[in-house]
């Protein structure tokens, strides 16, 4: 799942996939609040899930996304 998430983030943020690691902060990849919404939109499409708004403030790192998606899917 991490790889799929990394591919999606790299695509939206136009960054090198090698830079997308579990403990990387989204801000370090140039993802501001507006771009973060686009990342979540793409992830919803890729994983066919809905990420509730209330989870968004707690997403800081790539690993946070992995955890949240894992929780949502199970």
């Amino acid at each position: 799942m991490l790889e799929k998430i990394a591919v999606t983030i790299a695509k939206v943020a136009h960054c090198d996939i090698e830079d997308v690691k579990p403990d990387t902060k989204l801000k370090e990849l140039g993802i501001d609040s507006l771009k973060a919404i686009s990342v979540l939109f793409e992830l919803e499409e890729v994983f066919d899930v809905e990420i509730p708004n209330e989870l968004i403030p707690s997403i800081v790192t790539v690993n946070d996304i992995v955890q949240k998606l894992d929780d949502i899917r199970h």
């Binding site: 136009h14 771009k35 686009s38 939109f41 919803e44």
Partner: protein, 404 residues
């Protein structure tokens, strides 16, 4: 306080080309950009249009920037950049920072709406792109021009259908004359080639499937176009202080509404708008050399506009040169009048009157000199640019050759 308003920068993106030199060259050659739509739209009767030639968005914007730019905003920013550069200004200059940016648009972010509705209604998706609102909102063009050029003065979009560009320009004139700002970037942008909008124009039955032949006996309606026209305006004092080139003076304007009919033109409303523009610019009817007509090539417009010119200008009507550049750049809705203002400004600057292209045979009800098919070299001291929108919203701008 008489603050005279000068035009010192021009920008244009249209089917005639992606910058002002290509736009003006085509107009001088009388070359029409109207072509069969390629690809054609399935189920749409409209088969011709004036579409931008080879516009590659990524030549102008990064992919991050594009995620926030509907096509109409892209065109606005490209034309605005050209007008600012043409005026010898750049992002960060105090004159630009303090400027106003007023943009007209007849239909706003239709491309964004189209993608959204297709996803929802045709693909039955439950999600839409998260940037749909900021990209598609009608005011986005002003926001994006402000953002890309570092303009921090008053900024907004206004809408009055096919007169949007002229109303935006008049708003800029008013702001400068009243002392609110010294510099204003004004113009309009529209990108109407979407399936939904074409179907809607189809239904109205005013679009030609041949070409746009304003004032000709065999005219068959308007032809849609897309594009953006932008003008950099500033006070005479401001322009002189920085040694700017002055193309022409925006000497006056007239605005009226018909209170008559939602689509049909009204001769008296047109006359009153032209008359007010002349009065505002302190011009007599016999001082006008050229009128860039609204000239849509619909049966109703061309007769009403001709009758209005005849009634207002009386004997001088036959001395006037009148042309419709829509025959070349198409009817780019709100952007049309801004493109026409660019054309009229250059007519005065170069002393060349644009032709009415595609002209075939005179109509007995359109009995004036429409400069058929060939541009004409002639000094123009004073000109009018006409715009008459659906809903009876009329805006006329008077331009003068600059003299101290």
């Amino acid at each position: 306080m008489n603050r005279r308003v000068m035009i010192t920068g021009l920008g244009s993106v249209s089917a005639l080309g992606l910058n002002v030199p290509s736009f003006w060259n085509a107009i001088v050659e009388g070359r029409s950009a109207i072509k069969p739509l390629d690809p054609a739209y399935d189920g749409v009767k409209i088969s011709v249009g004036a579409v931008l030639p080879e516009f590659q968005s990524d030549n102008y914007f990064s992919s991050d920037e594009l995620s926030l730019l509907d096509r109409f905003s892209q065109l606005a920013v490209v034309a605005a950049r050209e007008a600012v550069e043409d005026a010898g200004l750049s992002c960060g200059d105090q004159a630009l920072t303090d400027a106003a940016v007023i943009i007209g648009s007849g239909c706003g972010g239709k491309h964004t709406d189209e993608v959204t509705y297709e996803k929802l209604y045709r693909q039955n998706s439950s999600r839409v792109h998260p940037l749909t609102i900021p990209r598609g909102m009608p005011s986005a063009a002003a926001s994006m021009v402000s953002l890309h050029l570092g303009i921090k003065g008053p900024a907004y979009v206004l809408s009055s259908a096919c007169a949007s560009g002229s109303h935006a320009i008049i708003q800029g004139i008013s702001m400068i004359k009243s002392g609110l700002v010294d510099v204003a970037l004004v113009g309009a942008s529209d990108a109407p080639f979407t399936y939904g909008l074409l179907k809607s124009w189809d239904a109205l039955r005013v679009v030609s499937n041949d070409t746009c032949r304003p004032f000709s006996k065999d005219r068959s309606g308007m032809v849609l176009g897309e594009g953006s026209g932008m003008l950099l305006l500033e006070t005479e004092e401001h322009a002189k202080a920085r040694g700017a080139r002055i193309y022409a003076e925006l000497a006056g304007c007239g605005m009226t509404s018909d209170a008559h009919h939602i689509t049909r033109p009204n001769v008296s409303g047109i006359i009153r708008a032209m008359d007010k523009a002349l009065l505002h610019a302190a011009l007599n009817v016999n001082e006008v050399d050229y009128i860039n007509a609204h000239g849509t090539a619909t049966l109703a417009n061309d007769i009403a506009e001709t009758e209005a010119i005849n009634q207002l200008f009386q004997g001088h009507a036959r001395q006037l040169a009148i042309s419709s550049t829509k025959s070349m750049h198409g009817h780019a809705l709100g952007a049309s009048s801004a493109l026409e203002l660019v054309a009229t400004t250059l007519s005065i600057h170069h002393g060349i009157i644009p032709p009415t292209a595609n002209f075939t045979e005179a109509d007995e009800l359109c009995d004036l000199d429409y400069v058929p098919n060939q541009a004409r070299q002639q000094t123009i001291s004073n000109a009018l640019s006409n715009a008459f929108a659906f809903g009876g919203l009329n805006a006329v701008v008077a331009l003068k050759k600059y003299s101290t």
